[in-house]
């Protein structure tokens, strides 16, 4: 067994340990508060923990399957996220072909470019080609009603759900000296830090939360949860430096940037939900809402993390 897979194994065992711990707490809480009739908060917590098991196992299978597995997993995430996003935006019949090509042409091409490791075109395909070609497809039908709004929303959907999400598997294309064959652990680092930061913000907020940080956007987020979550996720990031090419200090700084981006990403995506008058993006994941509800912080941190690592560590 090489070091990459033995590190991955250690990591997976650690995550399973955390989940078993969480499931035990969930079970105890259920026995105490939910035994005689359901307690909404505890039921939701347990649904979330169960969904975590499923998500961890899915990501684990993708990692075992290697590059193909990871690409397929994130292509599917992009598809499901784009479906949730487009469901909530203003579209008209004139956008039909533009939307169909977003799903069935732009999305597959973006992941194909990752598969063939063509970084140059991968980085500009959606910001340049899709950006210019999609409005052309829409305009051909001659419907000008709310035109700017419609094309802007479709472009935003593509940027968030396809472009940004694809930067998670893009970490596999980096070539970092001394880190060959271990890039999948960079994905693990990013996803673990972002998701733990979300969970820890929730836990710190539930335990000590007093002051609302953004009452208009997200009534459940508190200053105490934010500070506690960011600090603890940064420390966890630093302690995970053994799976990364970074020193503990560097890993901590990157984790700090990731958690900040994730937090503000969550706020931006909440604002969009408020604007559209919905509470969740969808119902794909029991207890969590839609896929975007789980992915919002990853979406905002992945491209920044990718580019920082690419700029300072990668040769390609």
């Amino acid at each position: 067994m090489n070091t990459a897979s033995s590190d991955l194994l250690t990591l997976v065992l650690g995550i399973f340990g955390v989940l078993i711990f969480a499931s035990t707490i969930g079970y105890v809480l259920q026995q105490r508060f939910s035994a005689n009739g359901p307690n909404a908060a505890v039921e939701n917590l347990n649904a979330r923990i169960k969904a975590w098991w499923v998500m961890v196992i899915l990501i684990g299978i993708a990692f075992i399957a290697g590059r193909v597995g990871v690409l397929i997993l994130f292509a599917f995430c992009s598809f499901a996220a784009l479906r949730e996003f487009i469901t909530l935006i203003n579209t008209r019949r004139a956008d039909h072909w533009a939307l169909a090509s977003a799903f069935f042409i732009v999305l597959p091409i973006q992941y194909y470019l990752l598969w063939t490791k063509q970084y140059g075109i991968f980085a500009i395909f959606i910001p340049v080609y899709a950006f210019l070609l999609m409005p052309i497809i829409s305009v051909l039908r001659g419907d000008t009603e709310r035109f700017l709004l419609r094309i802007a929303e479709v472009q935003w959907a593509l940027m968030i759900c396809v472009f940004c999400v694809s930067h998670v598997p893009a970490l596999l294309t980096l070539s970092i000296p001394g880190y060959e064959g271990r890039n999948v652990l960079l994905i693990a680092f990013l996803v673990i830090v972002v998701q733990l930061s979300d969970v820890l913000q929730y836990v710190w907020g539930k335990l000590f939360g007093r002051t609302k940080i953004a009452p208009n956007l997200s009534p459940s987020k508190t200053v105490e949860g934010f500070v506690g979550g960011v600090i603890s996720a940064t420390l966890i990031g630093a302690s995970l430096s053994w799976i990364t090419p970074f020193t503990p200090f560097q890993a901590g700084v990157l984790a700090f940037i990731i958690t900040l981006m994730g937090f503000f990403g969550g706020l931006v995506m909440s604002a969009i939900k408020r604007d559209r008058g919905v509470k969740d993006w969808g119902n794909l994941i029991e207890g969590h809402g839609g896929l975007i509800d789980r992915l919002d912080s990853v979406v905002f941190s992945a491209p920044i993390f990718f580019h920082i690592v690419r700029y300072w560590w990668s040769l390609s």
Binding site: I86, T87, L88, N90, T91, R93, H96, A100, F104, G277
Partner: protein
Amino acid sequence: MKIIIAEFAAAAFVLFARAITAVRAIWPEHGLPSRPCVYFANHSSHGDFVLVWAVLPPRLRKLARPVAGAEYWLKSKISTFIGRDVFNAVLIEREREKRTQDPIALMTSAIDDGSSLILFPEGTRNLTDARLLPFKSGLFHLVSARPDVELVPVWINNLNRVMPKGEIVPIPLICTVTFGDAMRIMVNEDKDAFLERMQSALLALAPKPLGTGE
């Protein structure tokens, strides 16, 4: 052999519908009737009954037969196979002058045989901006003939955006199918009052339009 292909095709339709729309059912407070009943839904796309069919629990799905226009489904061999064998539709002739069979008689005999019906009382696909077209009187004549049968309103949301008229490629969008509580015709209820009551029961299930805030 034909039955196996039909079963296979039905499963493929359901799988495809689920992959594109991630369709989710919202059930009524008191659950669905376990006896055969009439599901009546808004109609904006050819895929409407597939979605209703896809979300029904298997036991109820087996009983459910969509009511559809014979002119459309008997056009070609393939569509006849899909309409008759895959979905086991009750095919009625919509054009009054050319009718050889009474649609109400076809529907009541299906109910008498223990089937449920999936019915679109607007009579045709709604391609307008109105949320619902005025109901045709078929629903009333049906329950006048079988006043005991329960009526379940079903609102299908978003499918018209998935595949608007004239398009061949569906756009993946999340759809919901909302079932209301079962109702019956009341004693001495006249046609207009009954249809009005059914229309408002169906409209009451429709979600608020997007972007209207909270």
